[in-house]
Structure formats: structure tokens, C-alpha cells
Symmetry: none
Subunit: 188 residues, 4 copies
DNA sequence: TATGAATGAGGCTTCATTCAT
DNA sequence: GATGAATGAAGCCTCATTCAT
């Protein structure tokens, strides 16, 4: 069996990083091929177009978040309080990277108006995120209210990521997480 | 006096719209020229480069918001409550456009990692926005707290704009505005 | 009588300097207009095209050299030896400018193959230069030999200017001038 | 093995010819692509920019002259007299082309003032040329004198090429070569 | 699988020149 | 005379993609 230099998954991971930092339209296939150590020609053996690659990246990122962040929120191993703490801690680690922030939000703002083919992937991601948060907050709120709270918290999260990037300060994330925790124990 | 097809200000206004909908890197000088009814060559009579144009656009948008949104927040003609209502109403009208949302946030997420020359303009805009909101909320909160509240509300606002665009529903804006009003009369 | 901001002669002088330093094709009409403090539009009131301007420049430079360098070589006020010394001294002052060297030679090498319209002006200039030198050297040589010597000296002069520019050292001019003087008193 | 329409070396050779005849700034990438039978886009597979191409051309020309003209001057197979004759004969064949003359001198006069990146290549070329000639003339002169003589002869050579091009007559080269030979047997 | 040559369109920008005022 | 808007072609370069090997 020939040794594979690089897997599709690895390409997706690398591409996700490049897209996150540089944006979709500002990233060229050359950038991506180079980042993966592949020739441009070979790159097209893995992904037939930039658009297909981006879809795979969005799916890959979604999958990654689902596995490591969203799914555990539905597990029963931990108490709701513990789940929330774990969730927020992981979320911070995943997002609070000043160099690029949240690929999904970046891609949303950059492409929603022009590249409709990405919209379903973006929606699905946020849908899952909201659902996971809603599930956790159902411990404190009625389901419908929990859903609203979850929506608000995700919005606040993305707002905080934006500010983190604008000002280069992670405190916006920390402060936001505190508010999220507060709403769990002390509804308003 | 030379007759002009179009003024710099008009170009800036049109370009702001195009950039807002299509993004910075996905907008070509041809797109802009066409949108303005100009030849590509003539564009460089007005702006020496795409980058300079974008800076002018960011400044222009900032100026527009300052005049119509931020500055009135510091006036004395209205009661704080009225000012807040006017402010939020205007903000909604200015931002709640599904076709593009907020140019500043779009540009921030798209260019912060790669086009540092835009960062000061983006920061200045948000700084002014926060200051205006903080001033209003100083009616209810101590100055330092008001500043924090203002930061949070701007973040929530941008989060709501993101959701509005992702889901194509303006309700996120409306709900967010209600929360902002609530925090004015009922601190938490 | 309206005061003229700038005369054609002044434009020619300025343009000659710019062309000498930047070359013909690398100099834009904007460069020239700016160097003269004129708007591009007005520039075309003085010269109908870049080509016409260049012709005027070449003529102007030729005229300038004729008046200050070539013509005196035919005068009778000085002894041949003195004339030669004056001639070479002036030539040095006129050419030994590291920033651009000799416009005629620059233009020759740059345009002879593509812009035939300049050739007559270049030829006329060198013709006059050779004639002047030949006249001086007729004191020492037979007319036909003097002509050959003059041709050689002009060639050496341009070779020295080339080297001066390549190495940024004026010694090549000085050494060349010494050789020219030597050939006046000590034929070989 | 990939089949290539054309090799880098061939491109360099063709480009050298075009640059020699048309000059650096007056030669467009389209001109070069067309001359090579390539599309413009493909050109950038081989050379990352016009400037890089020009550097490669200057290096290529230098290499060509080194191999066929300069290096043999240091060999021992021939007598000094024979080496000189061979050298001058080859030099004539290489330079005495009315359509463009000497690329190095053309490029020097055109770009020394504005494109400093080419200067080292031009200097290296002339340095080698002078060294080769100096080596030959060391048969007749002391090393230091030989160096001066070589410098002079190269200058005269370029002066002669200039005149050849201005007047369209190769006699200037022939006459110059005769003088060079004379200085070998009959120092002055 | 793997290479990198090849394509053709399009990107940003500059230029010589003209024209209306 | 004087301005600077306006034009259209061209200049350098990049890009997504395809193809022959």
C-alpha cells in the first residue's frame, strides 16, 4: 500500500487554518497547496474546486466542533453545571485565537451575500451550537426560554470574538463567559 | 467649474454599499467602476488605489454614523430615555439590512488578519459607538459600568446582525434592541 | 501682457533633466507635468505629444551644447591649446553628472531600435560634436586624420561616461580628458 | 518527464534579444510572451516578475560571454597574440549587431538611475570583461598598466558600438579593433 | 498518484491623450 | 490660457483550473 503523503482530513485541517486567517476570497489555491506541501496539480486530485474544498472545510470544522464541543453537552456523565463549565472552557480554547477567530463567522460575513452555496453549512453549524447550549440551559430554563438564551449567548460569543480581534484582547471572551455562567445560576 | 459625473462622496457611498454586500477582496475595481458608472481608469482620478478607496469608505461610513447616530447621543435636546429609543431605532434602520449587514464588522472579520492598514479605522468606529452608548447608559449606571454595558451591547448588536444575516430574519435585531432597552430601566 | 508661468524653454530644460535620469520610456507625461509644476492638461498646450516634446528636448539640448560648447571651438579668440582646454573643461562640467550622464547617448541606446523619429536629432548632435573637435585637432593633424581623431575621442568620451555611471566614479572622465589632451600635443 | 514548449534558457535567449532591441521599459511582458510563443500567464511559471526575468537575462548574457569570450582569454592553448585576435574577432561577432548593440550597455544607460537592482549584474559583467582583456594585455604591459589599458579599450569598444548604432556603420567597430591590436604590439 | 506546464480570464494600476468648461 | 475630468488601451501580475505525461 503506498504511503499517503497527506490525508484529505489533514488538508481540511490545514485549509481551515488558512481560510480562518486570510478569508475565503483572499486565499488562493496556491496558498492552500503550499500550506499543505502539495503541488497545485495534486491538490485538484483531492478537491475538485476551491468551492468544494471550502464546503469540506466547513463540514470538517462542524464535525470537529460537534465531536469535541456540542455532543458532550448532551451526555450524562457530568452535572449540568460541570457540563457548562467544560463547554465554555473548551469553547474559549477553540475560539479565543486572536489570529483568525471563528472561521464560521468569518465565512458567514464574507460569503453570505455572494456565495449562497456555503449558507447551509454555516446554518447547520450554528443550529447545532445553539441546540447544545439550549440543552445545557434547559436545566435552568423552560425549553423555549433556554433556546432563546442559547441564541443570545452564541450571539454574544461571536460579538466577543469580534471585539477580541478588533482590540487584540482576550478579556472580551473571558467577560462574556462569566456572563454566560451567571445566566445559568441566576436567570434574568 | 468642471462638471463632474459624480462626486467623491457619491463614489464613497456607492462603494460602501458594494463592499458591504460583496466584501473587500471579492469586490473588484471593475465592480466599483461599473456601480458608479465610471470607467476603470477614471477611478484612479479619485482614489489612488483600492486600499485608499477602502480607507475613504471606512472613514465615510464612520463619519456618517457619527453625524446621524453617535453625536446625537451626546446632545441635550432629549431625555435619556428618548435618546436611547431614537438611537436604537436609527441603529436598526442603519444596520438591519439583510443584504450586507454592517460594513465595519464585515471588514473587520475579513481584513483584520491580513490588511492591518484598515484596523485603525475599524477601531475608531467602534470606539465612538461604544462611547455614545456609554454616555446614554450613564443615566442608569456609574460611568465605568456604563462603559462595560455599552461594550456588551455593541457586541450583542453585532452578534444579532450576524444571526440576522445567517437566518435572514430581522427578529434577532428586534429582540436584541428590546434587551438593550430593558438594561436601561432595569439593570442586571 | 499676461505673465507666463513657465516658458517652453524652461519646460524643455526641466524635461531634459527628467529624461536624462529616467529615460524616455520610463518617463511619463505625468512625471514631466509634475516636474514642471503644470497640470497634465496644460502640458498639452505646450507640446502636442510626448514624442514632439522629446524632439524639442533633443533640439534644445543640441542647441545648448552648440552655443556653449561647439560654436566656441570655431572662434578665434583663443589659441588652439586654450580652446581645447576650455572645451574639455566645459564638456566635463556638462557630462560628468553621475545622475544621468549624457541624454543623447542614453536616448540613442534606448530608442535607436524602436523610435526612428529621434535618430536625425541624435546624429545631428554627434555630427556637430565631432566637427567641433575635429576643428580643434586640425591644429595638430591633417583634416582627415583630425576627423578620425575627433570621432575616436567622442567615442572614448561616451565610453568614459558609461563607466562613470556604472562605477559611480568620475575618474574615468578625468583620465579620458587627459588622454584627449595628450593626443593634441603628442600624436600617435 | 514533462514536455516543455520551451526551456528557461531558451526564454532567456529570446528575451535577451528583445530587450536588446527594444530596451527594458519599452518591452512588455506581452512582447516577450509573444516572442517566445507563450501565453502571458505562463511566463510567470518561469519567472516571477519582469525584474526577475531581466536579472536572469543579464546573468545569462554574462554567462554566455564568460564562457565564449572571457574564459578563453585565460587559457594557455594559444599565444597571447592569437588570443587577442580570437578575442577581438569573437567580440566583433557578438556585439557588432546593428540591431541592438550591447545589451549590457543599453541596460546600463537605461536603468542605472532608476533600477538599482540591475547594477550588480552590469558591474559584474564589465568587471569580467576588463579582467579578461587585462590578462591578455599583461603580455605587453605591467599588470597595473594592463588593467588601465583594458578599461580604456572596453570604453572605446562601447563608444564604437554606440557610433555603429547611431550611424548604422560597422566600420567604427573595425577601426576600434585595429586600435586595440595596435596597442598590443606598440604601446603608447 | 504525482508533476508542473499550460490556459485564459480577470485583478489592480498606469498611461498618453482628449475634452468640456 | 488653464483645469482636471474623462477615455480606452495597455501594463504587470494572479488566479482557478486543466492537461499531458
Amino acid at each position: 500500500m503506498p504511503v499517503q503523503k497527506i490525508t484529505k482530513e489533514e488538508i481540511i485541517t490545514i485549509a481551515a487554518g488558512v481560510f480562518r486567517q486570510k478569508g475565503y476570497h483572499n486565499t488562493s489555491m496556491s496558498d492552500l497547496a503550499e500550506a499543505c506541501g502539495l503541488t497545485k496539480g495534486l491538490f485538484y486530485h483531492y478537491f475538485s474546486s476551491k468551492e468544494e474544498l471550502m464546503k469540506a472545510v466547513l463540514q470538517g470544522v462542524h464535525f470537529h466542533f460537534k465531536k469535541s464541543l456540542f455532543a458532550p453537552a448532551f451526555g450524562n456523565a457530568l452535572s449540568p453545571q460541570e457540563k457548562l463549565e467544560k463547554f465554555l472552557g473548551k469553547a474559549k480554547r477553540l475560539f479565543a485565537t486572536v489570529d483568525g477567530g471563528c472561521l464560521m463567522a468569518n465565512t458567514a460575513l464574507e460569503t453570505l451575500g455572494t456565495n449562497v452555496e456555503f449558507t447551509p453549512f454555516i446554518r447547520a453549524f450554528f443550529e447545532d451550537w445553539i441546540s447544545a447550549m439550549a440543552h445545557i440551559y434547559e436545566h435552568t430554563y423552560q425549553p423555549e426560554v433556554a433556546r432563546k438564551v442559547a441564541e443570545e449567548i452564541v450571539q454574544e460569543f461571536e460579538g466577543a470574538v469580534l471585539f477580541m480581534r478588533i482590540y487584540g484582547e482576550t478579556r472580551f471572551i473571558d467577560e462574556m463567559l462569566k456572563r454566560a455562567q451567571l445566566r445559568f445560576v441566576q436567570p434574568h
